[in-house]
Amino acid sequence: MATSMQGGTSGAQVAGPQVGRSLPRLEAREKVSGRAEYTHTMRLPRMLHGKIFRSTVAHGRIKAIDTGAAAALPGVYRVVTSEDVRKLIPEPYYGPAFHDQPILAVDKVHYVGEPVAVVLAADPHVAEEAAQLVVAEYEELPAVFDELGAADNAILVHAELKPAGTFADLKHLKGRKGTNIALDFKLRRGDVDKAFAEAAHVFEHTFRTQKCLHVALEPYASIADWSESGVTIYSGAQGPSFVRTEIARLLGWPENRVRIKVPYLGGGFGGKLYIKLEALATALSMIARRPVKIALTMEEQFYTITKHPSTFRIKTGVDSGGRITARKCEVYWNGGAYADIGPRVTQKSGFTASGPYDIENVWIDSYALYTNLPPAGALRGFGIPQLVWAYESHTDMIARAIKLDPVEFRRRNVLREGRPHATGQIVENAKHEAALDRVAERLNWGKPFDRGSGTLRRGRGVAMAIKAVISPTTSVANINIAADGSTTLYCGTIDMGQGSDTAMAQITGEVLNIAAESVRIVPRDTDVTPYDMGTLGSRSLFHMGHAVRLAAEEARDKIKAMARDVGEPEGSNIPLPELFRKKYGMQAGNIIGTGIYKPDYVPPDPATGLTPNVTPFWMCAAAGAEVEVDTETGQVRILRLINVVDCGRPVNPRIVETQISGASLMQLGFTMFEKMHIDAGQVTNASLADYKIPGILDVPAVMENEAVEARQSNGPFGAKGVGETATFCVSPAIANAIEDACGVRLTELPLNAEAVFRALRAQAGRPLRDAS
């Protein structure tokens, strides 16, 4: 059984422990040599390119679409509208939570940028030119853009709600009319009104977040190749199993006629989840009976899926001893024109809106709202960064008001292991307090600190957070050991840069006692890789990690059984090739191990939102920031950014560190400058020239990243996910540091120089007029 494979050759050496090794990514060589394949650069023989003609109004009835001039352009194969699509797919609506999004706009458009028609041509330049010749006429309808405005239902985005039926807690919304609310999640614990009445202090604040974009550097791309016998789709998709299910449903086919192949992803960050261009590419390939590729430009990404803007009203009661006795949270999520996964964000993040605190009385209302903006979905944190921004800013404001040290106030109220979370689940394996302690130590909290001088003022701030993983979800993995002893892993987790292939190979190697480098991971292909719910929400290392572990354990057990079969003594370390030869008389046969993992879960009570088991693990984080504010200009320089996470036991410590620093730098962009500017529903900065993302000069002078000593007791080899964790705390830690530096409190992201300067002027009694 102690058989090891190095570089595919057989031998009986022992590989030693694989979990905990900082080996480089398995696909590193392909990536540095430019040979890694991405959908955006793929081509198929006879392929047509589709270019999308998009809506120019935010809400309107389509009166006419004139495709004549476009179709007449030499080289154009065909111009397609929803009329053509509906001849083949009568109900062309898709989506993970609601079947609300049409493949191409049907009768109405619901946001600026919505796909209305597609030009097909063999030459992408011809398709692009022709797309500009399509003309649509609309009867404009009143539109609603703001989440609070949408909540009063005066302007309706959709006439009727169409939940997909996938999620039990959305079924009650089926057929509901007269509302923009795509989900209203509630949590009720104790009696908040009574507690507020008895509290020594009550604080109430409102926080907002802006609309941001994933900006994966590989823009969205899908290629579909349809025939009567089946369809093959190449797509940069984070969840190929879901894409397969959804395409099969749209076509009325069994899943085995739908094949999704996923090359490397040039970034995903939640944007490439569920279904994006796959249905459109499939419909176009059915119409053209040729392979069709849709590859978006950077600009078009701004019209595809975005981060939820949010408004969070938070109210907290505190007793005379500085103990939080009650918290009421009202969160409004601006989901845009189509639900995508917004209702899941609303619930799965919503229930943690009261934060990592031990509070007797909690009231949470979390609303998913339709508006006439580009749709919003998951973006590295599934709503948690929006919530933490609010509750950790609020927490600091309370500490200042009651003259308690912000770290001490947090410690006094922190949710400790063995205590119930707001949902009722008893918290275990959650080291957010330890993370906060490490941040405080690194900041020398409580010791004197250089506060700057003159117009350059320095300050520091902290924040702390937890996130539950989306549950319950399922992962399946297969391991195939060939007769030469080499090992192949089939798993549907998508490595979009987070290093999951390397981690899964390490888990495989740990169980089978082989070097992780020798494990081959089959490129994702739903014809061969088994089901996985999706690469999202930092779930993969835990869920797929368990599935891979179980598959490897089954393979290991079968090796032992085979050895017994051929008469090997117990504990024999016969090399695998020899074992196979003994069993089959030649180099022949396979050993196949399968692992399936789905954690336990108890659905929340619909009336109270309470459940004893809402998540199999908690992601925990703390951050600290030191900033310097130029009070003459409002410029904020981040001198130091400290990110500490609890990810259980790091499977690959170096990759964990890059995940921590990368996540925190991404959140730094959302915190300091990223913002989609929107005028009457039109995004006015839809390019990287106008929408700035962090570059190398935006990296703080000092960045410190740490994973606290931890072991997730129910995780694979003590591990849990970490892809999102370092995003949670960055925004409030910086806002708290800004107040510490110059006394102004910002309640809306981003924290750019204009916002700081306006706040400084308002504080000085000389407010600036709003720009008209």
Binding site: P24, R25, E27, A28, R29, E30, K31, V32, S33, G34, R35, A36, E37, Y38, H40, T41, R43, H125, H214, V215, A216, L217, E218, P219, Y264, L265, G266, G267, G268, F269, T297, M298, E299, M496, G497, Q498, G499, R654, I655, E657, T658, S661, G662, A663, S664, L665, M666, S687, L688, A689, I693, P694, G695, I696, L697, V699, M703
Partner: protein, 162 residues
């Protein structure tokens, strides 16, 4: 309105049929199956499409293919030398320092880092940050990229490239 251009691509004399509006990236991809330079922002803001033309980095998505007639073009696929299956010291250092995640922007960073080290064999952090300010990495691997370039500088000094 097609015309034929001829140029040196990764050390080899080649020709291609192009139209006036074709850019360098699409010609490399379509005619030569070289996918290492790739379009992302389409505006020269991100560096994913970086290609060396006569030894100087250009944004291949903005660079008209017509302009490479007679030029020498080097792509990431040949940065370790034409016909070479090994990696350059910069590429090795990127792997050792873990200086990428998704890898989409990596060829651009590798080419720019190579050009930097050709000009300045021992750059400090500030010089590296300044030189790479036109390349974007959404995975945020910048701290590791700086470390990789310093490592590559040490490797190149220890073992000069032929």
């Amino acid at each position: 309105m097609t015309r034929t251009i001829s140029f040196t691509l990764n050390g080899e004399r080649v020709a291609a049929e192009i139209e006036p509006h074709h850019n360098l990236v699409e010609v490399l991809q379509r005619e030569f199956n070289l996918m290492g330079a790739r379009e992302s922002c389409g505006q020269g803001m991100c560096g994913c499409c970086t290609v060396l033309v006569n030894g100087t980095a250009v944004s291949g998505c903005l660079y008209l293919a017509a302009f490479i007639d007679g030029a020498a073009v080097t792509t990431v696929e040949a940065i370790a030398g034409p016909q070479s299956n090994s990696l350059s010291p910069v590429q090795e250092a990127f792997i050792e320092a873990g200086a990428f995640q998704c890898g989409y922007c990596t060829p651009g960073f590798v080419l720019m880092a190579t050009q930097l080290l050709d000009a300045d064999p021992d750059p400090d952090d500030e010089a590296i940050r300044h030189y790479l300010s036109g390349n974007l990495c959404r995975c945020g691997a910048y701290p590791q990229i700086v470390a990789a370039i310093k490592l590559a500088a040490r490797k190149r000094r220890a073992q000069p490239v032929a």
